[in-house]
């Protein structure tokens, strides 16, 4: 085989392997999603949303407590985390733009985005659960908020930086103070981007389990009292899937299906929004 031919064959093999790698990645995605779909849809029934868990080993029962708990914790986390993240991002992109402080803070936020969520769980356990003496929904919400803050902060900063500086100058020229320029001009220009950041951060925390294990814990009973232990879908999935009963496994699959669908829909929606707005 001459050199020319060998190089062509080599190239063909390498490119085929790359294509295989892409097929490999797609294979897992399809495998996991179809598995969750098949098991999950079969286990879905109306009682899942209207009944509370039955005692172990007794059939019937649903996960109403976990659905409501998950919703409460996620909404509370959003209410706590989003304002802090958006305002923090505003500071980095506007008042502190270009300063060393802004650079250091945004690097630390990037690191914080990937800090193991279980570590954040232990941290919240030490500052909120141990001193108060009991698990609580609020502790879970704060733990999730801590995970959300750097995500929202970084996307807000990036999105505000994309707003052309001349737009601000036009508003300055009319005599508007900076805060008015930010609230009425800059936020408006970056609204879609910030909203997408918030959506993606919700998708990120909605599937979190580890930090909830030591904060909101779990609750077999229906409750809307966030100052006590609150059930969540993810912790219920963990408990039910690890449990010995087939009925539990069924319910875990149904819950897994619901949470996967919601998170994927939010994620895809966010991506489409970004694409549509910033193409």
């Amino acid at each position: 085989m001459n050199v020319e031919k060998r190089r062509k064959v080599e190239s063909f093999i390498a490119l085929s392997l790359s294509t295989l790698a892409a097929v490999f990645g797609l294979f897992w995605l399809v495998f996991i999603l179809s598995d969750v779909l098949v098991h999950g849809i079969g286990a879905l029934h109306p009682g899942l949303f209207t009944n509370d868990p039955a005692p172990p080993g007794i059939s019937g029962g649903g996960l109403r407590n976990a659905f409501v708990g998950q919703l409460l914790i996620t909404i509370s986390a959003t209410v706590i985390g989003v304002p802090v993240g958006v305002l923090g991002g505003t500071f980095l992109a506007e008042y502190a733009r270009g300063t060393k402080l802004a650079r250091v803070t945004s690097i630390l936020s990037d690191i914080m985005v990937s800090v193991p969520s279980i570590v954040i769980g232990t941290f919240i356990y030490a500052v909120l659960v141990k001193p108060l003496g009991h698990f609580s929904g609020w502790a879970g919400a704060v733990a999730l908020a801590v995970i959300m803050i750097p995500v929202v902060l970084r996307t807000t900063e990036d999105m505000l930086s994309l707003v052309p500086w001349t737009l601000r100058e036009a508003a300055f020229a009319l005599g508007a103070p900076y805060y008015k320029v930010i609230v009425q001009v800059v936020y408006r220009g970056a609204a879609t981007g910030i909203f997408t950041g918030i959506l993606l951060s919700i998708a990120r925390v909605a599937g979190e389990t580890a930090p909830l294990l030591f904060t909101s814990f779990n609750n077999q009973f229906f409750t809307t009292d966030m100052s006590g232990p609150v059930a969540s879908l993810t912790v219920s999935i963990f408990q039910y899937a690890m449990g010995p009963y087939d009925e539990w496994h069924q319910q875990a699959w149904a819950a897994a299906f619901m949470i996967t669908v919601v998170i994927l829909v939010i994620t895809i929606l966010g991506r489409l929004l970004i694409k549509w707005r910033y193409k």
């Binding site: 990645g25 505003t90 690097i107 800090v115 279980i118 900076y178 294990l213 998170i263 895809i268």
Partner: protein
């Protein structure tokens, strides 16, 4: 920028400044709080002894991190070994091979792998992957590679599917999208002039990728790999389902083991003595410090890469 001092403006700037400081306060706070909570264990076991001791015994109240660190290291390294080639292959496919109409959809599909919650990976791993591993893949590996001299030690025991190998496979699937998307972004930043001149002197597509694109984007790829490493270190639920939480150092990949995260997830709410709880906080501190360093290195590479491209 702040021409006239407007009181409302000043207040607004102050509020936003405080909000951005929460990140620094949180990171500092996590270090300080975990340090304080683990002080009992630090005093009792020291640093070196804790890290090297393989003892993890709640009954005798003797704790060491070596088994958990070993499990974390093995699953992480094995996962990286499987994920990196796949991720780089995917990035090459998306940037250089795929037709334009496939680039977007495949990119998004791979990133959806990162959006699936880890609890779903764990559950799927326990109910679907572990049985497949135990019945087909692990016995096959045992018969083929395991029969070779030297490496057989890695494939001993009865394949149960709940082991280091299955956990690593799941981890590798989970981290593929992180390396893949950063590698893809770095690849697309290679100036097309450089690529075109390589093609002009007769290079094949693979030679362009190997000799132009990869060297040009290596900083970004390193950053992506380090980021995946950080993710794999801290992954909890996916591993918790299929690792078995067994504190032992084992040479076989087909044995149950424990990682730092799995130990925390399984034992934190059960810790009944102060030393036990403190040792768990100590583990969390080790994990936090470890992942902080890895993620800082990742960020360093990515920033350096960014600066190079913008030049």
């Amino acid at each position: 920028m702040l021409q006239k001092k407007n009181p409302v403006d000043f207040a607004f700037s102050l509020i936003t400044a405080l909000a951005s400081l929460t990140v620094i306060v949180l990171i500092g706070g996590i270090f300080v709080v975990l340090w304080q909570e683990s002080s009992l264990s630090i005093r009792k076991f020291g640093v070196i002894d804790f890290l090297l001791s393989t003892d993890w015994n709640p009954v005798t109240e003797s704790f060491g991190a070596a088994t958990a660190i070993y499990g974390t290291a093995v699953t992480t390294l094995l996962a990286l070994l499987m994920a990196i080639p796949a991720a780089i292959g995917i990035a090459i496919f998306v940037t250089e091979i795929a037709p334009d109409f496939l680039k977007g959809p495949i990119g998004i599909a791979i990133e959806l792998l990162a959006a699936i919650p880890s609890i779903i990976y764990g559950m799927w791993g326990l109910f679907t992957l572990a049985p497949i591993m135990a019945n087909y893949i692990e016995p096959a590996l045992q018969k083929s590679i395991g029969a070779l001299p030297g490496v057989g030690i890695l494939f001993q025991g009865t394949p149960m599917g709940i082991d280091l190998f299955t956990a690593s496979v799941i981890l590798s699937i989970m981290i593929i999208p992180f390396t893949a998307s950063i590698a893809r972004d770095s690849f697309t930043l290679t100036p097309s002039v450089v690529k075109e001149s390589a093609y002009a002197i007769g290079a094949t597509k693979w030679e362009v990728v190997k000799n132009v694109v990869l060297p040009y984007s290596k900083l970004g790829v390193f950053g992506g790999v380090a980021l995946s490493l950080g993710r794999a270190l801290g992954e909890t639920m996916a591993v918790a389902f299929v690792l078995g939480n067994n504190h032992q150092i084992t040479t076989s990949l087909f044995d149950a083991a424990a990682t730092i995260t799995v130990t925390l997830a399984n034992e934190f709410t059960e810790a009944d003595t102060d030393v036990y709880l403190s040792s768990l906080f100590y583990l969390a501190l080790v994990l936090f410090a470890l992942s902080f360093i890895v993620l800082a290195v990742a960020k360093f590479f990515l920033l350096k890469a960014e600066r190079r491209y913008s030049r």
